[in-house]
């Protein structure tokens, strides 16, 4: 075989690939192929905007098919083929109900909220961090996720929660937070020591009736929606929609909320932090004066 023939063979091979692609493209206009991810009409137009990056749903659709469909399903309802083995169950995007928001309970999250959730992942679930995808890809996914529910066409995201500056971390703040932990009955789910063994823990279900576990503070795991004090503040002021965790925005004042944050940090015994150090030294001196948290602690305070 001469090199001329070699070149001809190579060129012909390329041409076959080319013609195969062209033929199929032509055929496409005549065949209503059952695309596994048709989505909604808004796929062509839906966008997201994250820090100057515009996400495109049409491109997010291809990424969804590659990365997300196994759990969240071809219909976006959280019924992917792997869902049966996953606990907690994957998010149902058709309801447009999201746990991690910076917006009030019952409202849609912002694009940034969805982007941050994809980026961060959920450490206590099967949802990994998708940071290995580049920012544009994550923005595209956000845009596509918004095509699953008509709510995105009818409603706007809620107003972003204003988080005031954090109050100083003091023993008084922690003690007041402890009072609130008792008074707001956080212990009923999270347990008196924060290890998710409260009397209601075994009975909790999510909005779809699936059993759900409260967060266990003692493991030192990252919170579901972030790892900073501001994230913790946001979690209980906005609630985790779709879960039994309510919003306390109408119940406590911002300063009280910071006190509660400071106390909750003391429950993270596996995660060294400033609040824990302060609390441990206080307990060493005044531990016997503290009333236990739980049903027998009428006043709940010290």
């Amino acid at each position: 075989m001469t090199l001329k023939k070699f070149a001809v063979t190579f060129a012909l091979g390329s041409a076959v690939l080319l013609s195969a692609g062209a033929t199929r493209s032509t055929a496409q206009s005549h065949v209503n192929s059952p695309d596994p991810l048709l989505g909604t009409p808004s796929v062509a137009t839906e966008t997201s905007n994250i820090n100057g990056i515009t996400g495109h749903a049409e491109e997010g659709k291809h990424l969804y098919r590659r990365f997300c469909i196994g759990c969240h399903g071809p219909d976006g309802n959280g019924q992917g083929m792997n869902a049966q083995w996953i606990d907690p169950q994957p998010r149902d995007f058709t309801e447009a109900t999201f746990k991690c928001r910076s917006t009030p309970t019952g409202t849609l999250p912002t694009d940034d909220d969805l982007y941050n959730a994809i980026t961060r992942g959920f450490v206590t679930t099967n949802m990994p961090s998708w940071r290995p995808l580049n920012p544009q890809q994550r923005a595209n996914l956000v845009a596509f996720i918004k095509t699953w529910s008509p709510r995105w066409a009818k409603e706007k995201p809620g107003a972003v929660l204003n988080i005031p500056p954090e109050t100083p971390i003091t023993i008084e703040s922690i003690l007041h937070g402890r009072e609130l932990f008792q008074k707001l009955e956080c212990w009923k789910c999270h347990g008196p020591a924060g290890n998710a063994d409260g009397p209601s823990a075994a009975t909790l279900t999510d909005s779809k009736g699936n059993p759900i576990k409260p967060f266990n503070f003692t493991t030192g795991d990252r919170f579901m929606c972030g790892d900073t004090n501001r994230d913790l503040y946001r979690i209980f002021m906005t609630g985790l929609d779709g879960s039994p965790m309510p919003s306390f925005a109408d119940v406590i004042q911002p300063n009280d909320a910071w006190d509660l944050v400071h106390f909750l940090r003391t429950l993270q015994v596996a995660l060294p932090n400033q609040e824990l150090t302060l609390w441990q030294s206080y307990k060493a001196a005044h531990g016997k004066d503290l009333k236990p948290i739980g049903p027998d602690s009428a006043g709940g305070a010290q």
């Binding site: 063979t9 390329s14 065949v31 495109h56 590659r66 990365f67 196994g70 083995w85 290995p132």
Partner: protein, 492 residues
């Protein structure tokens, strides 16, 4: 760098210039790019997604970690770099989840046709008097992988990969333990055992399966007459220090390896009967950096681009310490090195994998002579250079078209007075086309239909694929070797 390469002349043939090679590559790219992205939705769709062994543990689709299995995408690379951990609480060691069975099987029943010309065989005139083509075809089996991998403890991972050839002769293709995220830093990971080097373009995870197309020729190339058995794509045995940034955009690897081509039991192979190894060590260095290529304003970017460089510095024995004539230990080591750079480039659904490598062997390795004797007149250090351009077009996660063009030239022959003076002895030109379709990917396994056509042109040597009878009728004529392959590649 050889004079021939600097001047752009291809020593293989005057007709086949470097520019024609480049034009051919360009044509390849245009052809694949022209397969419009709209083709994707016209191809057979499916609502099912595969779950390889790790995905069973994490509940992720296989396409989350693979562009098309077994090739990794960046998410899979990060997972691998983190010691097979997603860094969430699902990373628990395998023994904590009884429903998880960390073993995968992979084998490929296939039909293939192999042919090579310019071969010697027995003819009417007696043994070795026939010259012509040798062709064989039929149904066949590939080798089989029995892959087990996972975490033994948080930040301690492992791989155990017993592998057999088609006749069920087993060996350990890979077996290592890795200590991950030392001092809680992703930049410090130590791997110990037998493993694939940190190749930006992996030969162990690539998508070609045919005899001729199923290897990167440049990874295994040595000039004619060279005694060096090194293969850059082969798994090696030793210890590696590696690290990466949080998203694995920046990666490095430094490996110290036995100078025995990954052999075990102090030999130079993983199966019995191999010559004994020597007592020296090689070093492999690899570095790569990825970045996001921005697109036009208001549009999505092109994708992730990665570029990298590598260097392998090694030694091989030129003779043996013996007992009653039988070799005991390799001695009289002589050096060699390989240098190169590679990239993994994306333009939306098109992935391009270019690689360039330069190789240099000591004259004693090049001539196959023991270093305790003087070199014959005219002997010199053989060099070679070349590389490949591989293209993948992903119509969707279940359909991928493949193509590769490869060219290797001997820059400097071991003897400057070889034969008729041909400088093209040993040169290789190869191309491969393929298509992989993953039609059914159930939750506990995956299936890929694989079709390939591959053609390799070698001068003076039998093809690296092993086609032919090992003897070239006329070493100054080209040997054309081709493969046609249809296989059903499945894992469980």
């Amino acid at each position: 760098m050889s004079k021939k390469f600097r001047e752009g002349a291809n020593p293989m043939n005057e007709f086949f210039s470097r520019w024609k090679t480049m034009l051919m590559c360009a044509f390849l790219l245009i052809a694949i790019t022209a397969c419009d992205v709209r083709t994707a939705s016209a191809l057979p769709p499916s609502k099912v997604i595969a779950i390889p062994a790790f995905a069973r543990k994490y509940g992720l689709p296989c396409s989350a970690c693979h562009t098309a299995w077994p090739e990794l995408n960046n998410f899979g690379q990060v997972f691998r770099d983190n010691g097979y951990q997603l860094m969430n609480d699902r990373d628990s060691p395998i023994w904590q989840n009884p429903s998880y069975f960390p073993i995968s099987f992979r084998i490929t029943p296939n039909w293939h046709r192999e042919t090579a010309n310019n071969q010697v065989f027995d003819g009417p005139g007696g043994a070795g008097t026939g010259i012509g083509s040798v062709t064989q075809s039929g149904f066949d089996l590939s080798g089989m992988d029995l892959w087990s991998a996972g975490t033994i403890y948080k930040n301690i991972s492992f791989v155990l990969l017993p592998s057999s050839d088609p006749t069920a002769v087993w060996h350990f293709e890979a077996a290592f333990i890795r200590f991950d995220n030392l001092w809680r830093s992703p930049w410090l990971n130590v791997r110990f055992g037998r493993f694939e080097m940190d190749n930006l373009i992996s030969e162990k995870r690539f998508l070609f399966l045919s005899n001729n197309g199923g290897i990167y020729q440049i990874y295994h190339f040595t000039p004619p007459g060279d005694s060096n058995n090194f293969g850059y794509g082969d798994n090696q045995i030793g210890v590696e220090l590696a690290g990466h940034s949080a998203n694995s955009y920046t990666r490095y690897s430094v490996a110290v390896l036995s100078s025995n081509e990954g052999g075990v039991d102090f030999t130079t192979d993983v199966v019995p009967g191999a010559p004994p190894a020597n007592r020296t060590y090689d070093v492999n260095l690899a570095f790569s950096q990825a970045f996001n290529a921005p697109g036009p304003p208001g549009e999505s970017g092109f994708g992730q681009e990665r570029i990298g460089a590598f260097a392998y510095i090694g030694q091989r024995p030129t003779s043996f310490q013996t007992l009653n004539g039988s070799p005991l230990v390799g001695i009289d080591n002589k050096p060699f090195y390989r240098l190169g750079f590679a990239a993994d480039l994306s333009y939306k659904n098109l992935e391009l994998l270019p690689l360039f490598m330069y190789g240099h062997d000591n004259p004693y390795l090049g001539t196959g002579l023991a270093s305790n004797v003087p070199l014959p007149p005219g002997a010199q250090a053989p060099t070679f250079y070349g590389g490949f351009l591989e293209a993948h077009y992903y119509f969707n996660p279940q359909n991928v078209a493949l193509a590769r063009f490869e060219q290797i030239n001997v820059g400097q022959q071991a003897f400057n007075n070889i034969g008729n003076g041909s400088g093209s002895n040993g040169n290789i030109t190869a191309f491969t086309f393929g298509y992989r379709w993953y039609p059914i990917m159930f939750s506990r396994g995956g299936v890929a239909l694989d079709g390939e056509y591959s053609r390799v042109r070698t001068i003076g040597e039998v093809p690296l694929s092993g086609d032919g009878d090992g003897t070239v009728a006329n070493p100054f004529n080209a040997v054309w070797s081709s493969s046609i392959f249809f296989g059903i590649d499945f894992d469980f």
